[in-house]
Amino acid sequence: MTQSVIVQVGQCGNQVGCRFWDLALREHAHVNKKGQYDEALSSFFRNCTSGALLTYLHPQAVLIDMEEGVVNGILQGALREVFDSAQFLTDVSGSGNNWAVGNLTYGSAYKELIVDKLRKAAEHCDCLQCFFLIHSMGGGTGSGLGTRVLSLLEEEFPDVCRIVTAMYPSAEDDVITSPYNSVLAMRELTEHADCVLPVENQSLVNIVNKISLMSHGTKPGSVLRKDSAVTSGQGSLSPTEKPFDAMNNIVANLLLNITSSARFEGSLNMDLNEIAMNLVPFPRLHYLVPSLTPLYTLADVNIPTRRLDQMFSDAFSKDHQLIQADPKHSLYLACALMVRGNVQVSDLRFASPTPTDPKMTSTFLLSNNTPIQQSFMTLRSFNIFLLLSFQAHLHHYLHVDGMDQSIFSESLSSLNALIDEYHHLDATKARLLPDAPRLSIAR
């Protein structure tokens, strides 16, 4: 069994990360009734007892933030006993929503300490397969220091897969420099990550609203089954949910799903390094659009059980995606469908509907498809607009030691090149390509 380490950076990264640990513990508790440390647990948790019964489960995680608010919350919250203080790296003043401060200032100041903590986490692993990095793109710490951590991971552990869950800002983001931070971070992701799962706040908001509508709906009998929504904290200990909890739960569910095959047994297992292998045809085109179904399960027994083919079509629709990129009329470079629950391999072949217990089945789709360029293009256009109109904000970046204008232009070029690569592939789909002429053998 291989192990993975989660590295959560910044306010958003740590909030999502903690939702993940909370849900993972509940999921394992549900499956592992005896409370014994088993292989499934070992993929993300370290056992810190001497006996067979676990009394201390340590998540394999490194938590980094340049201000103390969120981390203090964790240390006082429900998960306080689960983490070891050595896993934390904090500072007090924050990065001021400035990628350069996060990446260059703190990046240099804390480089040795970060590498040290990463090494310690890796040493506890028998066979380390993957680093999961969680951070937002729009701020300063997650975006700047997060991407610095990414490049350190590549330097120190080149053979270990790096999967990044990156939260992209929506158009109405309240941080005015978020497009700058995002573009600067994008370049790092394109160059140093093996796979990126981009998640857009706007999509998360849409999904939360959709579920909310459903649960407060006026349709008689259409009641949501308790704790079945992807947004539910499954009875988390805090009585009132904080504002971003529902959205963070979706992302946490995403991570739970992507790692489930590595943690539990299945008839056709998919390893994490197989995800990278199958979904990344060209090294830079490693942005995978995630999509989850079902979003919720209806408790009403009169409504017919959801059919598998319905779930599959939902998975491919834009309402279930975690990023705003219309998959219709798009070119799919590759996609992977992961199904959890009471399904047989044969169900996946035929179009005939196989009724299935909705509480037992969920589908998770990762698509490497060309509409992602739309998101990147939005990012690019907004950024250019800012550069022209708000030159004033630039100097906050240029003041930072090690930062200069060329880094901006290089990041923009990288983004342009990436959009072009997707665009180029898109152009080919319009014409039906004939088979490539085969090698002819002398007879």
Partner: protein, 388 residues
């Protein structure tokens, strides 16, 4: 004479376990005592405590499936795998043939060879090896090819009969066609014979003939094991003089095509029968001695430069197989696989045209050149079969 089964990768270990089970049931319930003991000797050995252990080694780059197969065998209580007859690592091959062939294989060469050697030492007389693997993934295909090469080098006078499972055409793994092309091109040079089962075909058997509603991989593997059992269990061959043939698969396909096959441009869509190079029909059970098999010697189904008497072999065993009153198995070296092979090469070639995923192989040492060599090799095979 004994056969050592080498189970490689997820599929290989799952199919292998079912195969051992089928062999065991058949041997134990067979009516003939000689048949029973020949079959047992071929695939199993007795420990000092009197238990039956399979003459098999289990190889995978991740531990889950081996553990499962070993437990399954243990649970049935009738036979089991040797406790130390397995080798696994923690991290798989990631569906990457290059990772299996160029990294895992060489890295663990000594351990793997030692594992096989220990099993071979238990054999009084070794007939040969049966590597069981899939072609779509990374370990079965990549490590499987590497291990086949090692077997070839270390035991030059033993036969190597590879059993391959071809994936569903619609794909379980995106890079399956690359992995398949690389495997087949290499095995072609190494293997004595390659027995193929295609998931699509077996799936059809399950749904149309066996009428199974929800087909699982377990069902597929059981059918494969059953068919393989029908081939490998003891039989009386024309030259074995009334005793069970010592060579389980004494297929002597030392066929050489005529030097100049000019003027015969084969077409893939020709005729109602696929042209055969050779056919082996195995009959088991009741009335085997009186069965009418003349149709199999019709020259129309064979290529023009082989007389049917040389191309057709008939083996018999009066002992029923797996409690079937009568059963027949046909092993055919013909154009039947031409279309699936051509499809596989075509899809792989189309993907290669855009160089998609090549960087994933390159980083483990398999370059574009290696791909081109493999494609050339398979086009040659396709051309040769087309011209039958």
């Amino acid at each position: 004479m004994s056969v050592v089964t080498v189970q490689l990768g997820q599929c290989g270990n799952q199919v292998g376990q079912q195969l051992c089970d089928v062999m065991w049931s058949d041997a134990q319930h067979a009516e003939g005592k000689t048949y029973s003991s020949v079959s047992c000797e071929r695939f199993f050995r007795r420990t000092s405590q009197g238990d039956f252990e399979a003459r098999a080694v289990l190889i995978d780059m991740e531990p889950k499936v081996i553990k499962h197969s070993m437990n399954k065998a243990e649970k049935c209580g009738r036979w089991r795998y040797g406790e130390t007859s397995h080798f696994s690592q923690k991290q798989g091959s990631g569906n990457n043939w290059a990772n299996g062939y160029s990294v895992h294989g060489p890295r663990h060469r000594d351990a793997l060879e030692e594992l096989v050697r220990r099993e071979v030492e238990h054999c009084d007389m070794l007939a040969g090896f049966l590597p069981v693997m899939s072609v779509a993934g990374g370990t079965g295909s990549g490590v499987g090819t590497f291990v086949t090469q090692c077997l070839r080098d270390a035991y030059p006078s033993s036969f190597v009969l590879n059993h391959l499972t071809w994936p569903y055409g619609t794909g379980e793994v995106i890079v399956q066609n690359y992995n398949s092309v690389l495997t087949l091109a290499h095995l072609y040079q190494l293997s004595d014979a390659i027995l193929v089962h295609e998931n699509d075909t077996v799936h059809r058997i399950c749904s149309q003939l066996l009428k199974i509603k929800q087909i699982s991989f377990n069902d597929i593997n059981r059918v494969i094991a059953h068919q393989l059992g029908g081939v490998l269990q003891p039989t009386l061959t024309p030259d074995s003089c009334g005793t069970y043939s010592r060579h389980p698969v004494g297929i002597d396909w030392q066929v050489r095509p005529p030097p100049a096959s000019a003027g015969r441009t084969g077409s893939l869509a020709a005729g109602s029968f696929n042209t055969s190079l050779a056919n082996l029909l195995i009959l088991r059970g009741k009335d085997v001695y009186s069965a009418e098999t003349g149709a199999f010697e019709d020259s129309a189904i064979y290529t023009s430069w082989l007389p049917p008497e040389e191309a057709f072999s008939l083996w018999k065993s009066p002992v029923p197989f797996n409690k079937y009153e009568k059963s027949a198995t046909l092993v055919s070296n013909s154009q039947a696989l031409l279309r699936p092979l051509d499809d596989m090469v075509r899809k792989a070639w189309n993907m290669f045209a855009s160089r998609a995923y090549i960087h994933q192989y390159d980083k483990f040492g398999i370059s574009e050149e290696d791909f081109l060599d493999s494609f050339t090799s398979l086009e040659q095979v396709i051309a040769s079969y087309s011209q039958l």
